[in-house]
Subunit: 341 residues, 2 copies
């Protein structure tokens, strides 16, 4: 087979690739409630209770750069991004397994730091490390974490169950992790040219922390519960707002309308974007790694949701599945598109 | 910190490393029956039923060489080694997640082949692919599979529950996968020197298949059930007989006596060992990757176990935890030692 006859994986894109690779797998198990296609898979533990499972692989040089990622932060982040998937199903994470492949450049002390971060996240979110695998790699560090969560069956929230006219809500603010990464990359460039120069990170502590040590939004899940709100649909924002809104649309067979001026953006994010000559909207829509929750609630819950701290209403689900629009403050409406990978 | 002050991971060894990294993690969850330290972790699904979880990471250049590992075989093997961990707990594998990191050298068609092998193993062993992660790597292929199994709580068999005078049994034969690897490595050397020369694998089909496409021993689990035998303890043989016998000893706080002439070795394994000027006993004791089951049964089950096809009685558990002996056909008894990693 000649090289030029082969499909390039990068041309296909991650989601098309997953569709292709999983298409021949048939699901027959009756206890499996949800397989591939949401933040986590769901299977029955008993009549009323389910377990959930999600997994994430972090690769040195692709997902993190050890020049500016402290190993303790990295361990914490590797757990956090997995927990985020479980919270996005309105479930409680319980157990993790940690597989790592490490090259010879790592000392035992380096691994200790990585596991300190893993431990910190486990303690903070009441999760137990119950297994794993530790092996060598020829180059670089690989961390694969699998998380198991639990929930009552009727409390689990999927991507596919948004209803028309649902309010689209988002926790926290968006685009910060991406702009934090840009700052870190800039300072790395400076450092590579002259290691004597100290990095200038002043004024960007918030967005840098959002990149290096994201917090999964257990607090939002708890506040929604306290407020008596169960979202109709939910997903976590790992690939940018646009991509995740489009997932909700596709899987719920609906459209969506998002208002630019409702999208929450932190001031540091906006400042950093300006410095890089970007509209702050760009990292918010396409930046990724925010690990905020995107969810929809019935219009009837409007007053309740407005009282939930750190949640913004940014638009609504539209009955026409062809309508996926961003309404700018000035100018004409724009079609929402997912960029990246 | 100077380089020479750092502990080298390779000096520590895999098991000491796992002990070190997991020592600060406290387990408080009441539904967790077994955490780190067996083939799989065990947690309660309901009063009588449990789920189990195990994970294995395979790394190109460390665990497999794509020069002689067909991708379809590799996909099958990646699943098989995980299922083996679940069977070793006397449980039934149910679900897997598959995380892969791939470099640019892989085409979509190559991934299709890998997933064909994964699918084949899933179909053969009634397991469902329910999730995963697909990402890039800067070099090489990484496959992390996590398997979830289920079992009645009272049917699960651990490493720590061997009893004194238990018969030590092993399924199949040992050392084949290691000798298969030696043959493949030899032919790779020849190929690297002259790509025109066709590999000479004749007469070694069995041991090569044992290396490239190991079969998890569901059949043995089923036969034991049919024979009405529940082992007192069990482990799968991934690192060689010696290492696994020592695990049973350590965790059950007992010793063991193994008879050299009872260790099952296939004729091809013996022939290949002879060709490489090795005693056939060496790959059987230390070779690894056999994925056979090592288990102990009460002496009272002797007649029953002798009738179970493809199982050999190779020794017994000794009440003195300091006695871990191999009894050779000729000569003095030798202390059992684990080599490698």
């Amino acid at each position: 087979m000649k090289k030029n006859q082969l499909n390039e994986i990068s041309n296909l894109g991650e989601f098309a690739l997953i569709d292709r690779l999983s298409k021949n797998f048939t699901i027959t198990d009756k206890k499996l409630v949800k397989g591939i296609g949401d933040d986590a898979a769901v299977f029955e533990a008993s009549k009323d209770n389910c377990f959930l499972v999600a997994t994430d692989l972090l690769v040195e040089g692709i997902h993190f750069d050890l020049i500016y990622s402290p190993l303790k932060h990295l361990g914490y982040k590797a757990v956090a991004v997995n927990l985020s998937d479980i919270y996005a199903m309105n479930a409680k994470p319980k157990y993790i397994t940690v597989s790592i492949a490490i090259s010879k450049k790592f000392s035992v002390q380096a691994l200790d730091l990585l596991y300190e971060g893993i431990n910190l996240a486990c303690e903070r979110f009441d999760v137990e490390l119950i297994g794993g695998d530790t092996t060598s790699s020829l180059s670089g560090l690989f961390i694969n974490i699998t998380v198991i969560g639990e929930a009552k069956k009727d409390e689990i929230v999927y991507r596919s169950t948004a209803k028309k006219n649902d309010l689209i809500c988002v926790s926290g603010d968006l685009g910060a992790a991406y702009m934090g990464l840009q700052i870190l990359e800039r300072e790395k460039e400076v450092f590579m040219q002259d290691p004597q120069i100290q990095p200038d990170l002043q004024g960007y502590d918030y967005i840098i922390e959002r990149q290096l040590k994201p917090e999964p939004r257990r607090d939002i899940i708890n506040r929604l519960k306290e407020a008596g709100i169960k979202p109709n649909s939910m997903i976590d924002i790992s690939d940018g707002l646009s991509s995740e809104v489009l997932h909700l649309c596709k899987q719920s067979n609906l459209g969506a309308v998002i208002y630019e001026d409702k999208i929450p953006i932190n001031q540091q994010t906006a400042q950093a974007a300006e410095m890089f000559r970007l509209l702050p909207l760009i990292p918010a829509l396409n930046g990724g790694e925010d690990y905020e929750l995107l969810f929809t609630v019935p219009l009837s819950e409007k007053e309740k949701i407005e009282r939930v701290q750190d949640v913004s209403i940014i638009g609504y689900m539209h009955e026409d599945s062809n309508k996926k629009l961003l309404i700018p403050v000035n100018g004409e409406e724009i079609e929402l598109k997912a960029l990246g990978w």
